[in-house]
């Protein structure tokens, strides 16, 4: 994975770890005047993955954007990961991406080949997703940044928001956790190449296959688990839904190497921001090791989907996800609202 430039050396913080904390973001967005439009069915409270605007009875527009500094040194891979991450918000709403715009910032000294490789990665993922990149905007700056603004479509009655979970639902999660911890430890050269290859492949994997399965079931709620980590996004789902999410700590899949690295303190700063934001709403019951809890606050770049699925079809849905090649697991359940928004159980 040697390239001429060490892309990650140009980044002050990596991938979704660069995301502004959820609490800070809410304060920055507070109090602005907005128009009300009955066709905008998702987007006012600013905490969902994308906005949804109804065009006809059968078509709604899904819009989102996401970009970040390099999380890997290989520019082609960086392009793929950034694009997969941006496209993911459309899948999290149950939609299909159709068009995308490049968003790019480059140091003036960056060579043309590197730029070309980043864009090639983005185009490759957009193509795989069935979306067309129709243009974009590039500026100069000290730190490289790449991502997409994506537009997609969804049927207005089949929008998957992060606020529809209901008591009795089962929580399914795709993609194992630990990406932030492992990429942090990788900066200290403490991660073996095959492990890195595995998480790079995971980050570059679209959530398309998972979305294509989920839309066949009456899923009540869905979100992608990215910068705010499993517990931050669960907290948002719980608050939005007016329910309590119960997560069984030992049922949550993670990359095994990540646990030991978390014990050694290779935890990105974003994980502590996530903890600060969500921990007042998270109640831990039973024995959950601190390092495991740390993994649940770990920002996931291009993470998987968290879905609240009715109990009666949860097992079949899980089996279909696995059959589609998606790494997925049943990690908890939803109840009526209790004292804590999220219960992390042994």
């Amino acid at each position: 994975m040697e390239t001429e430039v060490k892309l990650t050396k140009l980044a002050s913080c990596a991938g979704c770890g660069a995301k502004v904390g959820a609490g800070t973001l809410a304060r920055m967005l507070d109090g602005f005047e907005t128009h009300y439009d009955p066709r905008l069915i998702v987007g006012y409270d600013k905490s969902d993955d994308a906005s949804v605007y109804v065009i006809t009875d059968e078509v709604a527009l899904v819009q989102t954007t996401d970009f970040f500094p390099p999380i890997v040194d290989d520019p082609y891979l960086f392009g793929q990961i950034a694009a997969a991450n941006a496209l993911s918000d459309v899948y999290a709403m149950g939609g299909e991406p159709r068009t995308a715009l490049n968003i790019m910032c480059l140091p003036e000294s960056m060579d043309k080949h590197t730029v070309h490789e980043i864009l090639r990665g983005g185009y490759a993922k957009a193509y795989e997703a069935g979306a067309i990149i129709t243009g974009g905007h590039t500026i100069h700056g000290a730190e490289p940044i790449y991502g997409l603004a994506v537009a997609g479509f969804v049927h207005p009655d089949k929008v998957l928001t992060n606020s529809g979970a209901r008591p009795g639902d089962v929580l399914l999660l795709t993609k194992p956790l630990g990406v932030g911890v492992i990429t942090t430890a990788a900066k200290a050269d403490l991660v073996e190449a095959p492990v890195l290859e595995r998480i790079y492949r995971q980050m570059a994997t679209l959530n398309k296959a998972a979305r294509d399965v989920l839309v066949n079931y009456p899923v009540h709620s869905c979100t992608d688990v990215t910068g705010f980590a499993l517990l931050g996004h669960s907290f948002e789902m719980a608050q939005g839904s007016g329910c309590t999410l119960h997560i069984r700590a030992h049922a949550v899949p993670f990359h095994p190497e990540a646990l030991e690295l978390a014990r050694m303190g290779f935890i990105p700063a974003g994980a502590y921001r996530n903890r600060e934001y969500a921990q007042a709403g998270v109640q831990v019951s039973g024995k959950v090791e601190q390092a495991l809890e740390d993994l649940f606050y770990d920002p996931q770049t291009s993470g998987g989907l968290l879905a609240a699925v009715p109990e009666e079809c949860a097992e079949e849905c899980l089996q279909q996800l696995l059959a589609a090649g998606v790494e997925a697991a049943r990690i908890g359940y939803v109840t009526e609202q209790q004292d804590a928004a999220v219960c992390l159980e042994e």
Partner: protein
């Protein structure tokens, strides 16, 4: 006592520096950091290596005293 000054650095640098310093397995170290994530991470690393950690905060800077338990 060995003092590791990791002020002005972000993760994983302070842990990497602490790890390097602790290779000689002395009974006591002092680590200086200036952000919460570094404080937490160095604490975790030291505890993982079997050291007790005492933290003192002054004006946003943390002095961590690591003592072999």
């Amino acid at each position: 006592m060995v003092i590791v000054d990791a002020r002005g650095l972000s993760c994983p640098e302070p842990v990497v520096m602490t790890r390097k310093a602790m290779m000689d397995k002395q009974a006591k170290y002092q680590v200086l950091v200036d952000n919460l994530a570094s404080k937490e991470n160095v604490t975790r690393y030291a505890q993982h290596q079997g050291y007790a950690v005492q933290v003192e905060e002054t004006g946003g800077e943390y002095t961590l005293t690591l003592t072999k338990a």
